[in-house]
């Protein structure tokens, strides 16, 4: 017996939680699934636990993080069915389609009229020489360790790259008494961003928070190198040394740990696996699903909310979750457009404010070409299958390899366990650069289910009918 819902929501970050609360208030029967054991997504990861046993950590992580607690509490109170620690590995993208998940080691299936996916963001891959060495992680990883596990870096560590998350992490660690050895900030485009400042100023609190972070870092006495144009991490079996260049001078410092960051991009594998139409967002240098203003995708059964729709930040994602849940309720026929009008308009206005801040941030922190298409041919692009930048370049330039899927066939990039999450954007940027075309025209990998790991045994135990007529040796 498969349980049927009006709406299945994937993700319990700000977008997923807000969507769940709104949808349940509008009278939809809602299933919510998330792979983590507690609500919050990556941004509010562990917030409920911190409130209980690590109040000081909550303070260090700051009020924007602590704000997730109210949302998580409202989410817990809402009338929904919450499947925690449930990994969604496939969705049939049709109305009244099936959603397949794995939870507590068992595969499950549920039905929904529509699917609202809010899988959030992930950090943009930042392939620099040595980025696969133990002792190299992302800034987000260090922040997750602080939130979910109460751990902080030890020894001599540096933050390298650029973006709001890098600065936020530096400040959070300083508050906890943990001092980075240096910040190596890659090029930031202040002048280009300036014309986009009004939208940023119109969004409440953004400027004040940004300036406060910079002040905290400054008064923390962290050496802050700006305009870094080259990074390489060296070591035999472990990161030992970081080489960096700024203002034409190359420096080298011993390190125990390097934390990289080059902004965040939509976490796209679920959307790609459902073959939703995507478009290239050149301002954010990432693909995003093609959506209408209410989050409806190219597939009538699927809506998308939050950073997975294009990066909008936690507050924007929360507002968008409300917007998209309203659209889902109307489409399912649970409520009329007029009835949700007031609620939808308010959420839309809130979303617009946060969206307005993005052009400034996107321009300010736009990654330079060398961070997304590594110059050094020896740099690993596909970490799983160990494919180097030079190999990809050669296949395009010398063998006219037409695109990422043929590339995948030829050199196996994107064929490993991470399913292209850590090499997809780099591969398409490299192909576009070599062919001299837009990334939009290069396209992306075909992403295949299961998008979360299941075993052959899980599939063998799946509760669906056998089709022996089609499998008959």
């Amino acid at each position: 017996m498969i349980t049927a819902f009006d709406l299945a929501i994937v993700g319990t970050g700000p977008a997923g939680m807000a969507a769940a609360i709104t949808a349940s208030e509008l009278g939809l029967s809602v299933a919510v699934l998330d792979e983590q054991p507690e609500p919050g997504g990556q941004i509010y990861r562990g917030v409920e636990r911190l409130a209980i046993s690590r109040a000081k950590h909550l303070e260090w992580l700051g009020p924007d993080y602590a704000a997730g607690l109210d949302l998580a509490r409202a989410f817990r109170k809402s009338k929904i069915e919450y499947f925690d620690a449930a990994q969604v590995w496939q969705i049939e993208p049709v109305e009244n389609g099936r959603l397949f998940y794995k939870r507590n080691g068992v595969t499950g299936i549920l039905n929904a009229k529509k699917f609202l996916i809010a899988p959030g963001a992930m950090e943009r891959p930042m392939p620099v020489p040595g980025w696969t060495l133990p002792g190299v992680m992302t800034c987000g990883a260090a922040q997750t360790l602080m939130k979910a596990n109460g751990l902080a870096p030890e020894g001599k560590f540096v933050l390298a790259g650029c973006g709001p998350l890098l600065l936020l992490l530096a400040a959070q660690l300083l508050r906890a008494g943990v001092r980075p050895a240096a910040i190596l900030e890659t090029e930031v485009h202040r002048w280009a961003a300036l014309p986009r400042l009004p939208g940023f100023l119109a969004a409440p609190g953004y400027l004040g928070k940004g300036l406060a972070l910079l002040r905290e870092i400054q008064s923390g006495g962290v050496p802050y190198h700006k305009g870094v144009t080259h990074l390489a991490i060296k070591g035999d079996t472990q990161a030992r040394e970081i080489e960096f260049a700024c203002s034409g001078v190359t420096h080298s410092e011993p390190v125990d740990l390097v934390l990289l960051h080059q902004g965040v991009v939509p976490n796209g594998n679920l959307a790609w696996s459902m073959r939703l139409a995507h478009e290239w967002d050149d301002a954010q240098r990432a693909f995003r699903p093609v959506l209408d203003a209410q989050g409806r995708s190219s597939n009538p059964a699927v809506l998308v909310a939050g950073d997975a729709s294009g990066i909008i930040g936690a507050k924007g994602a929360q507002a968008m979750g409300q917007v998209v849940a309203c659209a889902a309720a109307i489409d399912i026929g649970r409520i009329s457009k007029q009835e949700v009008n007031e609620r939808a308009i308010a959420a839309h206005a809130e979303l617009a404010k946060h969206r307005g801040a993005r052009p400034f941030l996107d321009t300010l922190y736009r990654p330079a070409q060398q961070w997304i298409a590594p110059r050094d041919d020896n740099t690993l692009v596909c970490r799983c299958e160990e494919v180097r930048a030079g190999e990809i370049r050669r296949l395009v330039l010398e063998q006219q390899c037409p695109g990422p899927n043929q590339m995948k066939s030829f050199v196996r990039c994107g064929m490993g366990p991470c399913q292209g999450r850590l090499c997809g954007l780099t591969t398409v940027e490299l192909i576009a650069e070599c062919r001299g075309v837009l990334v939009q025209d290069v396209g992306y990998y075909r992403i295949r289910s299961p998008i979360k790991p299941i075993t052959v045994g899980d599939l063998a135990a799946l509760d669906v009918p056998l089709r022996s007529d089609a499998v008959n040796p």
Binding site: Q399, S409, P417, V456, L459, P473
Partner: protein, 377 residues
């Protein structure tokens, strides 16, 4: 734009088209391959990778012989590609088994194998039927549900993707030309003279080879060839890398040279829908887990569906146009198994301008009747 003179235009840059093109190039000819873009119905990218003999050609000994010939040629073909390009195709002629999970299956299998042997006549066909104990000696990983298997020494496997990459590299090395993003919509045909314009470039050659898989149906009509191929969907599961455990491929499960395990061999009519279905994958997984219980714990990395290129009778189609001599079609659903034959032999037929009598069984004449029947509907 200036015309370049080519000896042959090949439409299709998959395993079939590229194998023929490479075959022409290694004979000193100048082929140009016109291919679609990155996303297309590419059977070559969805292939299972068997170089397989033991289920080919029931009732059609010509097919059995052609397959056996290609299977025998594969070792030299693979060595040649590796020498030319440094890319190992992953080919191994290790022998292969078709595993049976019930007495009934085993009995049917034995009947089929006897039929193949009977039909092989003086060409010969050696095989053995193995019971559980005998098979266990060959492949220790089999589970208790396995009843037995048929085994031949002719079977083997290769990595279709490395093979395709090697063919592309070898083609270019021998002076061939590869043009992607060049979907062919029109062909100007005359006897031994073909002109195709894509964008602002015109290609001319005395020979034309249709190696475009499912696209051959429409392309054939442009040059007077009846190529009634239809899609047959196959679904495949591939796992994470596992330390070597299978010494030889089975019809449904093989371990690749990288260590991943592929589980496949479903067949269904699904039109041009190349999505997977949970029911079929479940069925494949259930059978795979019974065959090799260790697979229960093995993680799946990917599943996919691809469209086989099937003639109504499942046989390859080899023909030269009567209306426009010089135009050939080369199509089959076993692009890996027959890659060696296509590169080493079929390319020669294209140059000679004649397909030899032993391949007459694969002529489009066999569809004259089919078409007549269809047109009555």
């Amino acid at each position: 734009m200036a015309n370049v003179d080519y000896d042959a235009i090949i439409i299709g840059g998959g395993l079939v088209g590229t194998a023929v093109a490479y075959g022409l190039a290694r004979r000193g000819k100048k082929p140009v391959v016109l291919d679609e873009g990155d996303i297309a119905y590419r059977a070559s990218r969805g292939n299972f990778g068997l170089v397989w003999v033991q289920s080919k050609g029931f009732g059609v000994p010509e097919y059995q012989r052609w397959t056996r010939r290609s299977s025998a040629d594969w070792a030299a073909f693979s060595a040649e590609l590796q020498k030319e390009t440094g890319i190992y195709s992953g080919h191994e002629r290790s022998g292969g088994v078709t595993i049976c999970l019930s007495d009934d299956e085993l009995e049917r299998r034995a009947t089929r194998m006897a039929q193949l042997q009977r039909e092989a006549g003086d060409f010969g066909f050696e095989y053995e039927m193995l019971d559980h104990a005998a098979l266990k000696k060959l492949i220790t990983a089999i589970g208790p549900d396995v009843v037995g298997a048929s085994h031949t020494k002719y079977d083997g496997h290769a990595n279709p993707l490395y093979t395709l990459r090697a063919l592309h590299a070898a083609l270019l090395k021998h002076g061939g030309t590869y043009v992607p993003h060049a979907r062919v919509e029109a062909i100007q045909a005359a006897r031994n003279h073909f002109t195709i314009t894509v964008g602002d470039v015109t290609y001319e050659a005395p020979r034309l080879v249709l190696g475009a898989g499912l696209g051959n149906n429409a392309l054939g009509k442009l040059v007077g060839l009846n190529v009634p191929v239809q899609p047959s969907r196959g679904q495949i599961i591939v796992t994470e890398r596992v330390a070597p455990v299978l010494p030889m491929p089975t019809l449904m499960i093989r371990q690749t040279v990288e260590g991943t395990l592929m589980i496949g061999e479903s067949r269904e009519e699904a039109g041009f829908d190349d999505t997977t279905s949970p029911e079929i994958l479940h069925t494949l997984a259930e059978r795979a887990a019974k065959t090799f219980p260790f697979l229960r714990h093995t993680c799946i990395v990917r599943t996919w569906a691809a469209l086989r290129v099937m003639a109504p009778d499942g046989l390859p189609i080899y023909e030269q146009s009567a209306q426009y001599p010089g135009a050939f079609v080369c199509t089959c659903h076993s692009g890996v198994t027959l890659a060696a034959a296509h590169a080493l032999h079929y390319a020669g037929y294209v140059i000679d301008g004649a397909i030899p009598p032993e391949l007459a069984r694969f002529s489009t004449k066999r569809f004259d009747h089919v078409q007549a029947v269809t047109s009555q509907h």
